[in-house]
Symmetry: C2
Subunit: 209 residues, 2 copies
DNA sequence: TGTAAAATGTTGCAAATGCAACACAAATTT
DNA sequence: AAATTTGTGTTGCATTTGCAACATTTTACA
């Protein structure tokens, strides 16, 4: 996973942050980050900790659009945060660096040769996030909980490079991610075990397909 | 919707395309575009026409991840096309310009002042596509066909700026987009009409909520 | 360390949904 | 203009699913 300042020296990173007029803010757990910000379009870089982007519809239903950890970015542009239906909640103590979107192409920055690396990193991060969205869409378009689970476990096995691995999430989170009822999911996992598709004990997963 | 060469003069665009070593290819309808390409990572710009990004899973099930029209981009990086589960089919006669990803940051291009505009356009396009993915995820995470439809019609009304508008898609396409059974969707739309949430005649939609 | 909060597993039941199989209309192709 | 393909509307039925309401275990934290 790409870091926004990958392949940029500590020295140049500090210079870059200054030129970009970035500023860093620390938050406690379970805080709505975006309500504190009054910039125009911005990019927010998670220095440490993690956040959830949560969409709330007109009826008050909430859906977690994405979970982001250290090194990842979000912003008004990538998630229409300014549309006030999206909120951004810290899952733990978190530090975030804000960069105004316009600063990314300011005059001063353009003169530095590490700028090109920065831009490439930024583009690559956007692309990685897009791929993660695509992956989730593939799962969400499966019609049955069974198919979602089978595809998910398969994806994970591919990512881990092994048909035996440990789940990285809780089952509750997984149900949210797949957008299915948690108890119904538990039931389906039981069936999948009984039919021999998978073995699961605790967080240890083994897939047989 | 941003165009990759927005705010760049015709003259500079041609220069840019040359520097980027881009090449354009014409395709007929219903052709798999990506199978013809043997580049490394690339960005493909749709000059005219439209394509569908289709994901095929290990069982042969197909899901349309995204539909793209003129001015939009796709590529190995934004959609893991090289993972050979994704194919890209033209929906009509289509012209595509290919740009190798590495060329985007080549030495020559960096000297031109319109380069910065190009990069900003590219980033903005990526961001727009991300927003479209987010929007779809919001819909797909709704648990019932009813909620998907209500949210979709509402979104469309917001986009159009009017509670009365014409559907831009066929109902068959809409069912695919929302990932529900078409006939079950038709049934649900009937109920929504009967209960007065919406009026639909042909492609004319009026929402009452 | 004790208590509160979160996660997990289970089950009955009603509701929603996919599926299949139609008929018919509209659009596209030859 | 005829033929083929694609889109639309309908319905019965079996299956899947969400929901609610539990008990129990595990984790977090004051």
């Amino acid at each position: 996973m790409t870091n926004l300042f990958e392949n940029i020296s500590e020295r140049n990173m500090l210079k870059l942050k200054r030129i970009l007029r970035s500023n860093s803010v620390k938050y406690r757990k379970n805080v709505n980050v975006v309500s504190n910000v009054n910039l125009d379009d911005f990019i927010a870089l998670i220095d440490s900790g993690s956040v959830q982007l949560i969409y709330t519809d007109y009826e008050g239903n909430k859906t977690v659009v994405e979970e982001l950890g250290a090194g990842e970015i979000f912003g008004t542009l990538t998630s229409s945060i300014n549309s006030e239906e999206i909120s951004c909640i810290t899952k733990e103590d978190t530090q975030i660096t804000y960069i105004e979107y316009e600063q990314i192409t300011n005059d001063e920055i353009f003169k530095n040769d590490f700028y090109i690396i920065f831009i490439k990193n930024l583009i690559r991060i956007l692309i990685e996030q897009m791929n993660r969205r695509n992956t989730r869409i593939e799962l969400l378009t499966k019609r049955t909980t069974r198919d979602k689970l089978l595809a998910y476990f398969k994806q994970m096995a591919q990512e881990m490079g092994n048909k035996r691995y440990y789940l990285q999430t809780t089952f509750t989170e997984l149900a949210d991610y797949l957008s299915v009822d948690r108890s119904a999911m538990t039931r389906e996992i039981k069936y999948l075990k009984e039919e021999g598709f998978i073995d699961i004990h605790g967080k240890r997963v083994i897939i047989n397909y």
